[in-house]
Amino acid sequence: MIESSFVDGNSLIHRLDPRFRVAMAIGISVFIALADRFPTLLISLLLSLVLVALARLGTMRVFRRLVVVNGMVLVFWLILPLTVAGDAILNLGPILLTKAGVLLAARLTLKSNGIILALIALMATCPVTAIGYAMKSLWIPEKIVYLFLITYRYIFVLEQEYQRLMMAAKIRCFRPGNNLHTYRTFAYLIGMLFVRASLRGERVYQAMCCRGFNGRFYLLYEFRASWVDWIFLTALSLVILLLGFMEWGMVL
């Protein structure tokens, strides 16, 4: 099932104001995306690891998540050392691994995982509704926020619906294979899901109208930033500032 498995917890990170968490996640992501030098990237990765540690999420669970989202990084490692021009570090007859290629793959691995870890620590620990409201207070247009919240609200309903349809197929001995019958069945299940979703959307809208909906949503959620939030934000900003100096200060 779709679950936000990192939301439960009572760590320092979990108690931070969601707006601050979203802002910090964006800040760190952008910084790491821009940075390029190895020392900066290593320290950034360390920073993300510290955040994950502070969120106390369980090493194994975080690791499993990391493995799954590293698919593209794996592709880089398989391709880049072979294709990037440069000095060879390993020569295995026809296969030539270049230093430049390995370094490039390593750099991308650091960057990618630094950002992913920061996202796990700061975003995956946030209730999704809170992220929606945080988006609102971070000047994201209201329409997107409503769309986001309604989408989130119905993901679980529709997932259950899909599972029930799948179950119906299963009790009639459906077994997926490489054949047209399988693809047709999946297409029908998906089509049915859309049709039901669309009808449900209608009903939701009608129910909203019955309760006086006139095209305006009201978001009832108030954030209250505490001094802990501010201290955390300030500390993190300072670290990033220092890292930024490390990255670009020497060049300037």
């Binding site: 099932m1 779709i2 679950e3 964006i26 992501s29 995306a33 499993r64 493995v67 799954v68 989202v69 698919g71 592709v75 880089f76 391709i79 490039l104 991308l108 650091l110 960057k111 990618s112 996202l119 975003m123 995956a124 999704v128 247009p141 329409k143 997107i144 769309l147 309604i150 989408t151 989130y152 609200r153 993901i155 529709l158 997932e159 259950q160 899909y162 599972q163 029930r164 179950m167 997926p176 490489n178 047209l180 399988t182 693809y183 999946f186 297409a187 029908y188 998906i190 049915m192 899901l193 859309f194 049709v195 039901r196 979703a197 669309s198 009808l199 449900r200 959307g201 939701v204 095209g215």
Partner: protein
């Protein structure tokens, strides 16, 4: 491979097992930290523009409809269908476009934000690029589909297949192009992305055909997009 034994009444296992299975790596996202700033900014600008167009055509009273549909796309894109000895994720951006027109931009963007939050596939900096990669082909195939959808059944079958096929092909090409723009070093990575999506294109084509035929029969109003406005069923 996805076994049916994983589907339970309480509906808890499919995605979890998918995430724990290394065969199920999702490649339709460009990871965080790979692309240079210029491409990230370029992608973000196009994505914001597309989303703005999509949202402008989406009245407030159509938001529940679009939201529920976005949720169903999110769920449907987690489905694995068998392919050879392994299985693939459906992308379904073509169908999104055929049903929502420009609405594909906001809907796909929301789905990507949710994927970032739930699974950390993609994140903030690549949100723009990844949205464009999937949503732009969606809008393009919708332009091709709508003038032809009232023709006879065989035309609809062919055009549906092509829409499903090309929506993934364009997406893969755009992704490949993004890599190509980084520099020469990534040329092979880009080629790999395009080639590795070839089987998915065919399967998406087939699924799109059956799905469109299903919708035409069961709820044709879902395919009537007027100027990208999502219509009420009526």
């Amino acid at each position: 491979m996805w076994g049916l034994s994983d589907v339970h009444v309480s509906g808890t296992l499919e995605v979890e097992t998918a995430l724990e299975n290394l065969n199920e790596i999702k490649l339709m996202h460009i990871s965080e930290g790979v692309l240079p700033v210029s491409i990230l900014v370029g992608g973000a600008v196009i994505a914001v523009t597309g989303t703005a167009i999509g949202l402008r055509r989406l009245d407030y009273n159509r938001i529940p409809q679009a939201g529920v549909l976005a949720a169903s796309f999110f769920v449907a894109s987690l489905i694995h269908v068998p392919l050879g000895v392994s299985s693939v994720h459906l992308i379904l951006n073509g169908l999104v476009g055929m049903m929502l027109g420009w609405g594909a931009f906001p809907v796909i963007m929301i789905a990507l934000i949710l994927q970032a939050v739930f699974f950390q596939f993609g994140g903030f900096t690549t949100l723009g690029v990844n949205t464009v990669v999937m949503a732009l082909p969606a809008v393009l195939v919708s332009f091709a589909f709508h003038p032809l959808k009232r023709k006879n059944a065989s035309v609809v079958t062919v055009i549906s297949f092509l829409c499903g096929f090309f929506s993934v092909l364009f997406a893969a090409l755009m992704m490949g192009f993004a890599f190509f723009l980084i520099g020469e070093a990534f040329f092979e990575v880009g080629t790999f992305v395009v080639i590795s999506h070839l089987p998915v294109m065919i399967i998406e084509g087939i699924i799109t055909v059956f799905c469109i035929r299903f919708l035409m029969k069961v709820q044709p109003s879902m395919l009537y997009v007027k100027k990208g406005v999502i219509n009420a069923r009526s």
